[in-house]
Every structure is written in structure tokens, then in C-alpha cells.
Symmetry: C2
Subunit: 311 residues, 2 copies
Amino acid sequence: MTVVALAGGVGGARLCDGLQAVLPPGDLTVVVNTGDDTERHGLLVCPDHDTVLYTLAGIADPAQGWGIAGESWTVMERLGALGEETWFRLGDRDMATHIARTARLRAGARLTEVSLGLQAALGVPSRILPMSDAPVRTRVLSDDGWLEFQDYFVRLRQAPDVRAVSFDGVDAAEPTPEVLAALASAASLVICPSNPIVSVGPILAMRGLRDAIRAVRAEGVRTAAVSPIVGGKALKGPADRMLASLGHEVSAVGVARLYAGLVDVFVIDAEDAALAPAVEDLGMRALVTDTIMVDAEARARVARETLAALG
Amino acid sequence: MTVVALAGGVGGARLCDGLQAVLPPGDLTVVVNTGDDTERHGLLVCPDHDTVLYTLAGIADPAQGWGIAGESWTVMERLGALGEETWFRLGDRDMATHIARTARLRAGARLTEVSLGLQAALGVPSRILPMSDAPVRTRVLSDDGWLEFQDYFVRLRQAPDVRAVSFDGVDAAEPTPEVLAALASAASLVICPSNPIVSVGPILAMRGLRDAIRAVRAEGVRTAAVSPIVGGKALKGPADRMLASLGHEVSAVGVARLYAGLVDVFVIDAEDAALAPAVEDLGMRALVTDTIMVDAEARARVARETLAALG
């Protein structure tokens, strides 16, 4: 049974790790957000792709969930000495990914081809597909004006309230042939517990991708989503504050509402069991379980239960 | 007294180090060969500029004469793991130079501006000017055909005999305003003990630069050159074999002949004292001294004696 997961960064990567563990090798395709992608020091950095990549390759830093375990910071220190900005910190091992990616893109390869090559080199059995080969760039509107996403996310540490989001380029971006083929042959879809606004949001904002999801759903493919909000708080990142400042309910129900019409099974944490009726009122089945993916075993369990609920 | 030195890599950097030590800060301008420049992993690497840069910044690896002291190789190892070629090894510290340079070039700066910025960041009191902002690329003809310079120099370890050299782009390349201004205000010129064919050769192959040197010489500016061949052998690198395979005499006299008409004082090693008359037959004064620059003191002494001979 082939599964297509839509994912952003850390939370998404953890569920993908569980899905990879419980599915036969090669049966998982992850479609990742590219709205966080950014050019640093002339190199294309794809944070969501790389977090999923390193996680599925088993080399992610276990403490922070992104980056590579055992990193060193020599290049970054020297870049600082040479007068480059250093607030977006890239480790030496990670830097090699961005160097190789950028070189291959400049040599004419598509982002998808380059990404698949990196995954193959790291021995990842799943496929991680950028949602599009065309650039989509997320910006957020703060009280001081529009900010590039990483400016908001890393430099300002998500301090500003987000009044609006924009996915520049999304109207022109097409899903790739690889994404469309993966969706067309998917037995199930899973929306990972990633930020619904700025991680899953850009993916679903692509008209061609949304249409493709609708088309496979019309043929009976079912979709699960796992809530990234537990007990009214984001497990990681600013999703809770972002939901609030954008006028959404800060709860699993608030997230479920954003996915209404796209999702059959909505997975909420046991802590939120009382919200199950409100989720089911949206036309989804609520699956209540422990969704905190503290270790590999928990990741696999959440993945297994989610897939089982899809039948 | 401002001095303009023409230099390639290691040997040139050593004399430049001596010149910088004996001249007032800011009085040395080095014009470096760019024919060795190469794109590795999408990054512009300028081996001769960087060898001079690191040497004049006091951070060069003392053992090998190029690269930065105390290097680590994390990025290169990862690039290898990702399937990139690794025969052209770049250390982590060095990599930062190429990343910053490439980013700034892609942002629209000229190579000269970028180079001056790197020098300022590393606190180098001298100026190191690329001979041109336009790309010039050295290739060598081996018995198996034309090779890119670094392919010959690094990958093949200079094993092939060189039957011809080509400086692609040299006809279109102009010396920069900075190079022309430095020459126009120079009190003396020094041709460093670099490979006369592929280090000094590309610089002198630029018509505009050759014309500018002739113009300042016509106004009385005198030029010294230091032989890179001692006792019939190159101190470093393949200059001796290259001279032989290209039909030149493999001696200080053979080098002097290549510089005839451009040089007033030709500095040869004490070991080659017997060659002084043959050098003087070419219309140059021969300065015989110990030219082996084993340490900082020797570098400064060779620099001092060379400048003194120019009066």
C-alpha cells in the first residue's frame, strides 16, 4: 500500500519516520513544503526537505530535530569572519547538502531530480518530493510589514504576530510530474502534524496539487491528518500563536476546520478527547490516541494507527 | 615606494610575504593570475589569489604553502558521500571563502571588489588584484588532448607532458581599473618566482596589461624578476618539466629569456651564479643571491635585496 504524506519540518518528519518504519521500503512518498526554502550565502537551503531527509536517513540531530547529528560549525564561523550574516546557522555537514544541491541546480537539474539524488546518496528508501520545482516563497505580515519567512522564523525567533501569510509564486507553481504520479497511485494520503498555515498551507495552496488530491479522493482514496495542536498548544513552533493571530481557533478543532472537505480521519491526542465530537461535526472521523512521538516506537505506533484508521 | 608584484601561487606568495614585510603597510599591490581559477561544486575557487591571500593574512598552512592552517575536511567528506567529485580537496575554512566569493559575485559584484572585501575581512594590509574580472581559463595540451588546468594540475598530478598551453578568454579580458591604476602609480614592478608559463604567463598574455607594463617602463619604472628555477629544477610544481616539453631551456636563463625586454634585474640563486653572464647577455642585470625562501627572514631578505637592486 503506497502512502503519500504531506509534510513540513520537524513534526512532519517524525510521522514520516514512523510511516517509513511501518511501510514496506519504497511505499512512502513525502510531498514537502518548499515555501520555507531560502537562499543563504548564494546556496539554496530547503529546510523542510532536509529535515525530512535527515530524519528518514537516520542522521538527524535527535535533540533539535533538524540538522545533522554531531555537526561542526567551522564554515559558518569563517563566513562570519568574512562578513557574512550568521543568524541562519548551517552546520558543516548540512552545508555540503546545500552546496551539492545548488551546484546541481545551476548545472540545469530540476529541484526534484536533485532532491531524489540526495536521498539516494543517503540511502533513504522513501521518496521526498518538493511540492513544486518552481519557487514558492512564504512571507508573513507582521505589524512592521512583510517579512521573508526565515527572517520571521529564525532571525526574529517567531516573535512578531502574524497578521497574514503570502505564498509568493504559488499561482504559477505546478505540482511536478513526480508528485502527480505519486498521488495518482496512492492508496492513502496522510497530512502530517505540521504547521497548517505555513507548512501544509503552501502545499494545499497550489491549485494543481489541490485538484489532484480532490481527484484521487473522488476515486475513493482516503486521507488522514494528525493534529499538530495538542491541548491548545503547538508541539513545536509558532502554529498556536499563528492560528490565534490569524483568527482561527487554537485547538485541534481549529486545525480540523482548515482541512474540512479534504480529510476523512482526523487524529487528535488523548488529551483532546473531549474535542472528538466537534471534529466529527466537521464530517471527519476523529481518531483519539497518544500522538506525542517521543521515540521511534511512538512514531511507528502513531503511523500504524493512522494507517489502520484509513482501512 | 609602491610596488606591484605579479604572482601565481606558492612561490609567488612567499616573495609577496617578504615584500609585505619590508614595505610600509599598503605599499604592496599583487596582481594575481586567474587562469587557474575553477568552478568546483558550483563555487568559484581562485587558487592563486587565495594562496596569496592566506599567506599575506598569516593563516596559510605552513607545510603545504596553500590552504589554511589547521584545516578540517568535514564538508568535503559529506560532498563525497553525496556523490560529488572529491579529487580537488577544499578544507572547511577554505570552503567559506569560496562560498562567500560566489555569493557576492552572483549578487553582482566584480571579482576585484569581492577579492578586496575578503582581504579586508582578513586584515591584509596589501591589495591582491585579480589580473582581470573577466574569466581567463588555462588549459594544457597533453598527448591525450586538451585538459582543464586543474584536471592536469591536481587530478593528474602534473603527470602528462604539456605540449601547448591556452589561456581561454585572454583576448577578451581587460585589466581592471584597479590593476591599471596600481601600475600607473607603481615605483617598481616585481615578477615573482612563479611558473613563467602558467602563472605569470596568463598575466603577461593580456594585451592590455602588457601594454600598461610597457608604458610605465617607458616612463622609467624598473622591473625585477626572481627565477623560479634553481639548479635546473623548479622549487615547486611542474615548471621545469613544462619548460622542457615546450622547448625552452630548463634553467634560470630559460626563464630570463621569456621575460627579455620586460625585466631590468633578474634574480638568480647563488647555485646558478655561473649563469649570470648568460642572463646579462639578455640585457638584464643579474642579481645573484640565496633565493630559497625557507622562512620569514629569508622571504624578507630576498624582497629587500630585490627592491634594493631596482634602486
